[in-house]
């Protein structure tokens, strides 16, 4: 009976089929674990939350696991950072792990004329030790240096920094964090007495006036912008940026100032605040040093001077000043537009000063707040052991060295007393022949360093270049003598610290390909091979290392001795520093600093620091008439693209071709048409880019996203004198049609 019916059914389905296997491919089912419906194919049997490994927002991602392995992910609803949201990079965080060009095995070349060839770990370790020792024997210990990152865990950063300096005897080591937040570090240290970004993301929701300076959170930190959108105070949002960015579009007031006129602007604003007595005199009295001198300094910054320098209207500047002066809870936020400047430290401090004199610090919704870049930039600030000794200490300070020697049970003689060179000084050291061997970990110097052509030459000058990375295809790995294959985010355990000082966990939810190892394991192996294994005997696992680092923070402003272990961090959904022993932690807590008005200088007071603005090191002229700005192009790209370019979905969300934003006026003057391939030329190099002609950028300026490999062939290498951070955002260029450049290759 059933056979004919089945036959009939099959025949009918042959003609019209509404639920076969293709339909089932997309079926969804309740995902449990509070997830709502999920694709049936990807239904998890467990979930666990971990911190995203792209930017410093530090979103919690709920990883959908099957048999312990990550299948899929969605943003974690109960994570206090992101409240169930993520940007495209976070959603696609697992995709780059599966990329075909992962480094799976050590690669080595014994001479520069050879190509990199596969080898085993034993040979790689031996090569590393022999070659570094050889260079150090011939040129001195300090001739070997390392460049680290803000992309690996604090345990790995600490082990790397400890091994390189205490084990190998290196003196110079710095991180790519120099490129993004060194200015903020220095500014906070000088002003507050410690590198302590004072805010939590709750402040975005609690302000009634938010000022964004050189920051485009809509694109660079979309989840922080989410928090701004959740502000129910109908806040004034003031954006100070030469470009009409996405954030400027969403602002209630956009001040498109002349690039690099910002320091004059903020001194003038301070002057207006003082003139109109829009100050918190009680707070200044109690908590701030140097007010009189500061007032005298800014008195010269009249409204007229600011108007002339910034190109803004007097009313606009007044509105900015009065909004700040009259706001109940004013927060000032900055990112790379401030940090990446030749006078970045004083500029950041001009914002800190405004917060201090108006008492906008230590209360909900306030603060002079630096938004950091990388997922663990804040961790590197505390634990990378590069330019600063562990937990915000100084190499030059004998007491600090003694403390660390005792805490780590190593001899003081192993701790260099000489402070490390910064990134640019290491690069310059290579140029002068003082640095002969370089170990690059999880960063892509050949793409990201300012004035890239020069960086390429420099890497070629080294006797030894070791690159440790997830990918063997980065621009930097192409120069390497040895490539060590690293496991990535999601393939190892450890801690990242986000912009609001929250320690979050990274967990092991995916298998690393081939013989790639966690950076932690790689450094442990190298330490063993170097013969200093016993020095790191207690650093037996990432979590054991965390316990060591915890000890190092005791009594410091970043004290985290109140955190018992990883599990506590997991249960609390991340924990912000400080949490000294004895202080209770609440789940999903959001805490800001300085509620008591006490800062970390010896007298407990903050300092007002200021200086006369200087002329930009490179300005436009007849030959190079346009100012090139750089920045993030889209929220689906991360830095040099070594990871985000690996996701087919993310690739659909940004322009494959490098492009340059040009104002319609400048395009017309040069007869450039929309979408045309043109030549952008600076004194240092030239690149091809498609013209995107738009009023988003003002006449006289142009903008290029930093994600394209060649952009940094144009940038001008100037540095902030205090933070040594490069000034990526001002160089003079000219635009040419291809036909005007006869020798184009």
């Amino acid at each position: 009976m059933t056979a004919p019916r089945n036959l009939g059914g099959s025949l009918a389905r042959l003609l019209f089929d509404r639920q076969g296997e293709l339909t089932r491919d997309l079926l969804r089912e309740p995902g449990q674990f509070g997830l709502g419906q999920v694709p049936q194919r990807l239904a998890p049997d467990r979930t666990t939350t971990m911190t995203c490994g792209f930017c410093s927002t530090g979103c919690g991602l709920s990883i959908h696991l099957k048999n312990g392995e990550a299948l899929n992910l969605s943003p974690a609803t109960d994570y206090p950072v992101n409240l169930g949201m993520a940007c495209p990079k976070g959603w696609e965080a697992l995709a780059p792990l599966a990329s075909k060009d992962r480094a799976t095995v050590p690669l080595l070349r014994r001479s520069r004329s050879e190509a990199l060839a596969e080898t085993d770990w034993e040979t790689a370790l031996e090569f590393f030790v022999q070659r570094f020792r050889d260079v150090q024997t011939r040129h001195g210990k300090a001739s070997a240096a390392f460049l680290g990152t803000g992309q690996i865990t604090i345990e790995e950063l600490a082990l790397l920094g400890a091994f390189a300096k205490f084990g190998m005897g290196m003196v110079h080591g710095d991180g790519n964090t120099r490129q993004c937040m060194a200015t903020a570090v220095t500014a906070y240290k000088q002003s507050f007495g410690f590198d302590a970004p004072p805010y939590s993301y709750a402040d975005f929701e609690q302000s009634d006036v938010l000022v964004f300076v050189g920051a485009n959170p809509c694109i660079a930190h979309p989840i922080m912008w989410e928090r701004v959108c959740r502000n129910r105070n109908n806040p004034k949002i003031i954006v100070i940026d030469p470009r009409k960015t996405e954030t400027a579009m969403a602002a209630t007031l956009h001040l498109p100032l002349e690039p690099k006129s910002d320091l004059v602007l903020f001194y003038a604003v301070a002057n207006l605040l003082i003139q109109n007595d829009l100050l918190d005199r009680a707070f200044i009295e109690r908590s701030v040093n140097g007010f009189e001198q500061f007032a005298a300094h800014v008195a010269a910054f009249t409204l007229e001077r600011a108007v002339a320098a910034t190109g803004l209207l007097a009313e606009q500047i007044q509105e900015l000043a009065f909004s700040i002066g009259r706001g109940k809870a004013v927060s000032l936020w900055w990112t790379m537009g401030v940090n990446q400047s030749y006078e970045g430290v004083r500029l950041a401090q001009s914002l800190i000063n405004i917060a201090l004199i108006t008492g906008n610090i230590g209360r909900p919704g306030t603060g002079a707040n630096s938004i950091t870049g990388q997922c663990n930039a804040m961790g590197s600030r505390m634990f990378s052991n590069t330019t600063g000794l562990f937990a915000g200490r100084d190499f030059a300070n004998a007491e600090h060295r003694a403390q660390i020697a005792e805490l780590l049970s190593i001899g003081t003689e192993h701790i260099p007393s000489e402070p490390s060179w910064a990134y640019d000084q290491i690069m310059e050291g290579i140029n002068r022949g003082q640095i002969k061997a370089l170990w690059v970990v999880a960063t892509n110097t050949a793409h990201s360093w300012i004035n890239q052509a020069d960086a390429h030459d420099l890497l070629g000058k080294l006797e030894l270049l070791v690159v440790q990375d997830m990918y063997s295809t980065t621009e930097t790995a192409a120069f390497a003598d040895l490539v060590l294959p690293a496991a990535g985010w999601g393939e190892k355990e450890g801690i990242f610290i986000n912009s609001e000082r929250r320690l979050g966990l990274v967990k092991k939810v995916a298998r690393a390909p081939g013989q790639a190892l966690a950076d932690f394991s790689i450094v442990k192996l190298l330490a063993e091979a170097w013969g200093v294994g016993p020095m790191f005997k207690d650093w037996s696992s990432p979590e054991a290392t965390f316990q060591i680092l915890k000890r190092c923070t005791r009594g410091r402003p970043c004290d985290i001795t109140g955190i018992s272990d990883y599990r506590m961090i997991d249960e609390m959904r991340g924990i912000q520093w400080p949490l000294p022993e004895g202080q209770a932690a609440q789940p999903a807590e959001e805490r800001h600093l300085f509620s008591d008005g006490r800062f970390h200088h010896a007298d407990g007071r903050a300092k007002l620091l200021f200086e006369e603005p200087r002329k930009a090191p490179e300005s436009v002229d007849k030959n190079y008439p346009l100012l090139l700005l750089t920045g993030r192009g889209s929220s689906s790209q991360w830095h040099t693209g070594t990871r985000t370019n690996k996701s087919p979905v993310l690739r659909k969300l940004f322009s494959e071709d490098c492009y340059v934003e040009v104002s319609p006026k400048d395009a017309r003057d040069r007869n450039i048409s929309q979408n045309e391939w043109i030549v952008v030329e600076s004194r240092r190099g030239r690149v091809l880019a498609r013209a995107f002609i738009s009023h988003v950028v003002r006449p006289g300026q142009c903008f290029m996203p930093m994600h394209y490999a060649k952009v940094n062939q144009l940038t001008f290498p100037s540095f902030d004198p205090y933070s040594r951070q490069p000034s990526y955002k001002n160089c003079a260029v000219r635009l040419l049609r291809k036909s005007e450049v006869p020798d184009l290759d």
């Binding site: 089929d17 339909t23 491919d25 997309l26 969804r28 509070g34 419906q37 694709p39 467990r46 979930t47 666990t48 939350t49 312990g68 899929n72 943003p75 109960d78 169930g84 940007c87 495209p88 799976t104 596969e118 085993d120 034993e122 370790l125 694109i219 979309p222 912008w225 009409k244 996405e246 969403a250 393939e491 190892k492 355990e493 967990k507 092991k508 939810v509 995916a510 298998r511 690393a512 081939g514 013989q515 966690a518 394991s521 990883y566 997991d570 929220s635 087919p648 993310l650 690739r651 659909k652 969300l653 940004f654 104002s663 319609p664 498609r690 995107f692 738009s694 009023h695 988003v696 003002r698």
Partner: protein
């Protein structure tokens, strides 16, 4: 959990061939082995599984509840996406949320993001626009689908695609003005947004609504009458295709007044579209076949050419069948191709297939009729009554021509309804007929020349007439094809100007090849060929050079038309939602 070292090693090495070469080199250090083994163990569950939500309810619902309608649509209403442009900050999370929460294949996306910009130096505009299926009131995908693989839900108005019914013809990717249906090469079908209908049914928000950090996307109930009313004012979204075609229901809200010069970021980008080569072959060879039958029909109306048309019919039929076979290569799932006439009542594709099916059947009958005498003779059977069979062949011939031209008409309509400017009936109709004429004349010239070469009686008048007609038809066709280049002068970047820019720019080599080949084959050779015979001769005897020349001409013309038809696809500017920079 992995237990043995062997398993551990196998998994840590991912079964790569590296392992053997490494073992050859040296002995493993125990510590290296230790870390490799440790690396292969996944520890998240073991160490951190204590935090598990016991609730089945979606935790995220507290954030999205206000973004969903509280009731079901009533009669005259349906669900629609509502996009608050003022809240959209350009993060593009919606695209990835949709991708991940719906388990789409690698690189497959059902949502897209574009950029509008404009304004003045002192008041610039940039506005990100997110877009998915608009769940139209008159879905063009559904209208075009030849296998009825689309359904519009009577209650919710959601336009669903029935994946198992799809044969992968991709016609909906051409009829939808918003590039919504996405072809999945691996599966051989298209797939699209269904507004997460089963999530909505369970009071959960669609993935994009859940994933937008700024609550810019919501599901709202709209009145279809209101949509129709709004469409009259053409006020959908600047830079988007006219909503008059399909009545899209998505609402784009903003308090902003868009400046007059608001344009999509990709407005000036002209990039070649996909070259649907099987369709190129289908169109050109079916038109050749129909043309050859038609020309033959006209010629035989005036001159008896029995012996010639026997071969002629066979060649024309064979090429027609090749064309139809080639068209199945375009299907993602050719094994279900038989479903393609199900949509006859609404789909021009079904009609085209039915038309060519009828044409092929009649052409087979006609060719069989032409070969009846020799076949019957060979089998020792008596010949048919000539009075009767000649009559039948005349009528069959007419039926072949009528069905063939009808099917070519369906082809033209099939493209015309996609609203691409280049594919309008006023352009494509004459072009398709021109191809019929040029290739039909050229093929007839070849078969007649062959007949003349092999000694069959062919009159000089016929050959000369064919040459002249071919020259005229080619001249007409080339002028027609070139006419679109006149749009280069248009001050506005219209769709036809985009076509002209592509033909003159990125596709210039193809364009030049098309005109060169077409001119030699269609103008040069028909001019040259009459040198070899006298138009007054009643029985022309051609040298092999002349036959070779005629054949070469035909091949060149087929090549020329194939290039022309490739340009028809590649240079056609398609309607689309605003795109991003560099898209």
């Amino acid at each position: 959990m992995l237990t043995t070292t062997a398993e551990l090693q196998a998994s840590s090495l991912g079964g790569s061939p590296l392992r053997t070469s490494l073992e050859r080199e040296r002995k493993r250090l125990p510590l290296v082995q230790h870390y490799l083994e440790e690396q292969a163990q996944l520890t998240a569950v073991e160490r951190f599984s204590q935090l598990h939500e016991t609730t089945l309810l979606p935790a995220q619902s507290k954030y999205y509840r206000s973004l969903l309608p509280v009731s079901k649509p009533k009669s005259g209403q349906q669900y629609a996406f509502s996009v608050d442009l003022d809240r959209c900050s350009g993060c593009k999370a919606c695209v990835t949320a949709c991708h991940s929460l719906n388990g789409l294949d690698e690189g497959e996306t059902w949502r897209a993001v574009g950029l509008l910009h404009g304004g003045t130096p002192s008041s610039p505009l940039q506005q990100t626009v997110t877009t998915a299926c608009h769940h139209c009131i008159e879905p063009a995908c559904m209208e075009g689908c030849p296998v009825n693989a689309y359904e519009k839900d009577a209650v919710t108005g959601i336009v669903r695609h029935l994946d198992d019914q799809c044969i992968g013809c991709q016609y909906c990717t051409l009829t939808c003005p918003y590039e919504v249906p996405q072809f999945n090469k691996k599966l051989g079908i298209v797939r699209k947004c269904d507004m997460c209908s089963d999530r909505l049914a369970a009071d959960e928000a669609p993935a994009c609504v859940q994933g937008c950090p700024n609550e810019a996307i919501a599901i709202r109930i709209v009145d279809t009458a209101q949509i129709v009313e709004d469409v009259q004012a053409d006020a959908f979204l600047p830079g988007a295709p006219s909503p008059g075609i399909t009545l899209p229901t998505t609402e784009y809200k903003t308090k902003r007044v868009f400046p007059k010069n608001t344009l999509p970021a990709d407005f000036y980008n002209v990039r070649p579209a996909h070259n649907h080569f099987p369709l190129v072959v289908l169109l050109v060879l079916t038109q050749l076949s129909v043309g050859a039958f038609s020309v033959n029909y006209v010629v035989t109306s005036f001159y008896a050419t029995d012996a010639v048309q026997r071969y002629h019919a066979l060649v024309a039929l064979a090429l027609g069948l090749v064309a139809l076979a080639a068209s199945t290569l375009h299907l993602g799932r050719p094994q279900y191709g038989f479903r393609a006439i199900m949509g006859f009542r609404h789909s021009w594709m079904s009609r085209e297939i039915a038309g060519f099916g009828a044409f092929a059947a009649l052409a087979v009958a006609y060719a069989a009729g032409a070969w009846a005498d020799p076949l019957l003779g060979a089998l020792g059977l008596p010949a048919l009554d000539p009075l009767w069979s000649v009559h039948l062949q005349r009528w069959l011939g007419a039926a072949v021509v009528i069905s063939g031209l009808g099917a070519v008409g369906c082809s033209a309509m099939l493209y015309a309804v996609t609203r691409r400017e280049l594919w309008r009936l006023s352009y494509s109709g004459p072009r398709f007929l021109g191809t019929c004429a040029v290739l039909g004349l050229s093929l007839t010239l070849v078969t007649f020349s062959a007949a003349a070469y092999f000694g069959t009686a062919v009159s000089g008048v016929v050959l000369a007439g064919l040459c002249q007609s071919l020259f005229a038809a080619s001249a007409f066709k080339l002028l027609l094809d070139a006419s679109v280049l006149a749009h280069l002068k248009s001050p506005r970047v219209t769709d036809l100007k985009r076509t002209a820019l592509l033909m003159w720019g990125e596709l210039a080599t193809l364009t030049q090849a098309r005109f060169l080949v077409g001119a030699v084959g269609g103008l040069g050779i028909p001019l040259l060929l009459p040198v070899f015979f006298s138009p007054l001769a009643s029985h022309v005897q051609l040298p092999n050079a002349a036959l070779a020349l005629a054949t070469l001409g035909c091949l060149l013309l087929v090549g020329g038309e194939l290039i022309e038809r490739s340009l028809f696809f590649m240079a056609a500017a398609s309607p689309k939602m605003p795109g991003m920079v560099g898209q």
